[in-house]
């Protein structure tokens, strides 16, 4: 049984689920960040999604866009740090790209992913291969666009699998952006914490949509 589309209320439920899973993943994300940075990524994500959850719970959405932009603005305002800016921008510009749509289908998810990729790369300047969350995000977009998905559940599944591949690929990369860049070759073997977050986000969306 696969869902063809999601209503704004479905998308709200989906992002509430994402918030719960990210909050539960605090230690896993913090450990990933201790391997490469200063270890605060999990706490920032936990803080951001706790705030987003509170905003989403009282939201009565008319469009899917407002669910995503509410999440984005709240993450940006409550997290700070590099991850607040890029995670906030992911949802903010992805949501803005959706316009006034009152449902999310496979094409809508691709539109969201294109908006998210454009917003994040314009802000931070990272490209695929730089060992950042962009690797997971661009890989999610490519897989969702390339699979000719018929339903939102198929599209989310493709995005989740792409995000996971993108995250796995960061393990072999040398960091060139952010605090991890000073590690040089010592960054090999560890996944980028932001990419790990992106893979958890899309995995949870896929679990919900199917």
């Amino acid at each position: 049984m696969s869902n063809l589309t999601l209503t704004p209320t479905n998308v709200k439920e989906m992002l509430l689920k994402v918030a719960d899973v990210i909050i539960e993943s605090e230690e896993k994300l913090s450990q990933a960040d201790r391997d490469l940075g200063d270890g605060d990524h999990g706490l920032g994500m936990q803080r951001g999604f706790t705030a987003a959850k509170a905003q989403l719970e009282v939201l009565e959405p008319k469009t899917v866009s407002e669910v995503f932009t509410t999440t984005g603005m709240t993450l940006m305002a409550s997290m700070g740090g590099a991850s607040g800016a890029v995670m906030g921008m992911l949802f903010q510009s992805g949501g803005t790209a959706l316009g006034a749509n009152d449902s999310l289908d496979a094409d809508g998810l691709c539109t969201f992913l294109k908006g998210a990729c454009d917003g994040v790369t314009n802000l931070g300047g990272a490209k695929p291969g730089d060992k950042t969350m962009v690797d997971a995000l661009v890989s999610a977009r490519n897989k969702a666009e390339g699979n000719d998905c018929k339903s939102i559940s198929e599209a989310c599944q493709a995005a989740a699998s792409g995000a996971n591949e993108g995250m796995e690929a960061t393990k072999a990369m040398i960091a060139t952006m952010g605090r991890a860049k000073t590690l040089g070759e010592k960054s090999i073997g560890y996944p980028d914490p932001g990419a790990l977050s992106v893979s958890i986000i899309f995995k949870t969306m896929s679990d919900y949509a199917s």
Partner: protein, 333 residues
């Protein structure tokens, strides 16, 4: 690690409350995390600093007379969000524009960039000077990839004096760029600090090793070497700074700043300073003024950094001006 906290996750907001209390009326919190001087003259071009908390007294402890007008404070070790920066921007702006002056870290750059766009929408002119004094973090040809470390103390002090004198925002940008471009630093880590909320160390370093070029957030160093003596380390740091692209030699006058990253003692800083001074004098470089102590810190991190600012006819009068703040106070020449 024993730390005096209440709710660990509230450490950042509680320390900002405490900072406002310290200023005892001359500083107010205009929204959570955004602080500004209560009195800023109407003809002033404003100077806004900011960054993550946990590195006190920087950056937010550098506001005061002859220093910055306001600060945007993030969570522990994390850049402030755009809305906090925007609130601080509005609080310090007197219609003459605002200079953003902060360290070159990805998170700070992105959040200040979004804030500058939001400020532009509100009709506030913003310019930015990034601090990138750490010679160990990228080659001289890629300064925009260098981190901002302890050199920010002399840079913010010079910028504060410049903001009191500048006729307009463009003049302030030029003066602050002059200060930034004449400042170089290098840091050495000996032991990690810890994250207040978790108590966990920010990195690992063997007991007998030091991290040369390690950043103030505990980013792992560019090179890990054997623990050495104060004199040997002073020689290494002076060599690294003087080998950079800023020519500093006989006849030049410099500000010297020996910074403790947290738990390294004043005793150790003084022992290092003794050697640094001897090495500089031997090269014919004269010392105009000295700063020393834990001003750019990372909790109880052990380590030290050395910063040199090469003075010129523009910067010298700016340095001579008195200033006061939690982090740095100067009574006059």
């Amino acid at each position: 690690m024993k730390k005096l906290l209440n709710e660990p996750l509230q450490a950042a907001s509680e320390l900002v409350d405490g900072l406002v209390d310290y200023y005892n009326g001359s500083v107010e919190q205009v929204s959570p995390g955004a602080i500004a001087l209560t009195e800023i003259s109407d003809d002033k071009v404003a100077l806004l600093v900011g960054g993550g908390t946990g590195h006190e007294p920087i950056y937010h402890g550098l506001i005061g007379e002859g220093m910055a007008d306001g600060a945007a404070c993030g969570d522990i070790f994390a850049a402030p969000p755009p809305n906090v920066i925007l609130d601080a921007t509005k609080a310090v702006n007197r219609g003459n524009g605002v200079l953003y002056l902060y360290g070159n870290y990805a998170g700070d750059v992105m959040n200040f960039k979004i804030a500058a766009q939001l400020a532009a929408v509100e009709g506030i002119r913003v310019e930015t000077v990034l601090i990138w004094d750490d010679v160990a973090s990228a080659p001289p040809t890629e300064k925009d990839k260098r981190r901002g470390i302890a050199g920010l103390i002399p840079i913010v002090k010079l910028a504060g004096a410049a903001a009191d004198r500048a006729e307009n925002l463009d003049e302030l940008v030029a003066l602050v760029t002059n200060a930034r471009d004449n400042t170089r630093s290098v840091g050495v880590a000996m032991a990690p600090g810890s994250i207040p909320a978790t108590g966990k160390p920010t990195f690992q370093l063997d007991e007998d090793s030091i991290g040369v070029g390690m950043g103030i957030h505990g980013e792992q160093g560019v090179g890990v070497e054997k623990m050495t003596s104060a004199d040997e380390l002073a020689i290494k740091m002076i060599d690294l700074v003087l080998a950079d692209d800023l020519p500093i030699g006989a006849g030049d006058e410099v500000l010297v700043f020996v910074n403790s990253l947290g738990s390294t003692t004043m005793m150790e800083c003084l022992i290092v300073l003794k050697k640094v001074k001897a090495l500089l004098l031997k090269k014919g470089i004269s010392i105009y003024d000295i700063l020393l102590g834990p001003l750019v810190t990372c909790q109880e991190m052990a380590g030290i950094s050395l910063s040199l600012t090469k003075l010129n006819d523009t910067l010298k009068p700016l340095w001579d001006a008195p200033c006061s703040s939690l982090g740095y106070t100067k009574l006059g020449k």
